[in-house]
Amino acid sequence: MIQTALIMIGVGIFAGIAGAILGIGGGMIITPILTLGMGLNIKYAIGASIIAVIATSSGSTIAYLRDNVLNLRVAMFLEIATTIGAIVGALLTGVLDPKYLYLLFGCLLVFSGWNMYRKLRRGQEVLQRVEPDKIASKLKLNGTYYDKAEMKNIDYQVENVPAGFSVMFGAGVASGLLGIGSGAFKVMAMDTFMKMPLKPSSSTSNLMMGVTAAASATVYFFNGSILPGIAVPMALGILGGAVLGSRIMQVLPARWIRMVFIPIILYIGIEMLLKGLGVHF
C-alpha cells in the first residue's frame, strides 16, 4: 500500500513537471502507466487522469499567474468555445461516430507539428505585425510576458482569432466526446492558429485545461471512477511536480520546449489518425 502510494507520487511528480512545461494534461502519461503498467481498469485510469489534468492545471497556474506568463483574457475568451464544445461533445456521444473526429484531429495535430517544425527552423517566435489584428485589439488579446530565459518583457500579438476560437470549440467537442487531448489541442490553437508565442500558449493552456476538466470531473467523482488510494498520492505528486515544472519552463528557452513538443504532438496525431482508420496496436 505504501509502495503503491510512493509509486503514484513518483509518477505524479514526473507527469506534473512534463504537463506544466508543455501545457498538456497528464492523461497521456498517466493512462498508459495505470492501465499497462499497473493493470488498472480503464474506468479508474480515466478518473485518475482527469484529476491529473486538474492538479497539473492548478499547480502550475499559481506560478504562471504570479510571474505574468499566461494571458488571462485569451484564456477566458477561448474558454467560452471549449466549454460549449465540451457540452456539445457530451451530448453527441453515441450520435457522432468518433472515427471522423479522430481523423480530423489527427490531421490537425500532424499539420500543427509540421508548422511548429517550420517555426523552429525559422527561429521566429513572436508575431509583430505593423497593423495589429482588429478582433484581437478589440478583445484586448495582445499581451506581454516576461521571459526568464531571455530576461526581458516580450510583447506579442495574436491573429486569426476566429480560427483559434473554432479549433478551441473542436477541442472542447473532442474532449467532451473522446475524453482526450485537452491540452495538446489548446496549445495548437494558440500557437499554430493564433500565432501566440509558445510560453504564453503553454501556460494559458494549463489554466484552461483545469476549467474544462472541472465540469466532467464532477461526473467521474460521483460515479465512483476515483480510487482515493491511487488518485490522491498521484494528485499530491502532480501538484508538487507542476509547481516545479512551472518554474523550470520559464527559464527554458522556448526553442527547447518546442523541440520536445513536436515529437509529442506528432505522436498523438499519428496515434489518432491510426485510431480513426481503425488500426489498433
Binding site: I2, I80, F222, P228
Partner: protein, 126 residues
C-alpha cells in the same frame, strides 16, 4: 485602487496576482486535506470502509471526514481540488470587475454560466 490608465499590462498583472493568491490558498488547502487523508490511510492501513467501498455522496464524505475515516478525507480533498478551477473563474470575474473591464466581466460570467450548465448536465445526464 489602481487608477484608470492605458497600461492594460499593469492592470492585468494586478488582476493575475489576486487570482494567483486565492488559487494558491485553494490548492494548498486541498493538498493539506488530501495529505492528512493519505497519512491516516497509510498509518492505519485502513480506508475506514469495508472492502473497496468509497464514499460517493457528499453526506457520506462529510460524515466520514467527521469520523476521521481516511477515504472520506481523501475524497473531500479531491473534491476541493476539482473546485479550484471553478474558483479561478469566480475570482476572475471579481478581479475584472475591480479593473472595470466590463467586457471581460461579461465574458468570464458567460464561462461560469456555461460551466454550471455543464455541471448540471453531468450530474443529471449520466
Amino acid at each position: 485602487m489602481p487608477e484608470k490608465t492605458n497600461a492594460t499590462a499593469t492592470e492585468m498583472a494586478q488582476v493575475e496576482t489576486i487570482i494567483g493568491r486565492i488559487l494558491q490558498v485553494g490548492v494548498v488547502f486541498s493538498a493539506i486535506v488530501m495529505g492528512i487523508g493519505l497519512v491516516i490511510f497509510l498509518a492505519t492501513g485502513n480506508s475506514g470502509y469495508a472492502g473497496d467501498t468509497v464514499p460517493l455522496t457528499m453526506g457520506a464524505i462529510l460524515l466520514g471526514t467527521w469520523q476521521l475515516k481516511a477515504y472520506a478525507i481523501m475524497m473531500l480533498g479531491t473534491y476541493c481540488l476539482i473546485l479550484t478551477p471553478v474558483l479561478r473563474v469566480v475570482v476572475s470575474i471579481y478581479a475584472f470587475y475591480k479593473e472595470r473591464d466590463h467586457l471581460y466581466v461579461a465574458i468570464t460570467t458567460a464561462v461560469l454560466i456555461i460551466l454550471m450548465i455543464a455541471l448540471l448536465i453531468g450530474l443529471t445526464g449520466k
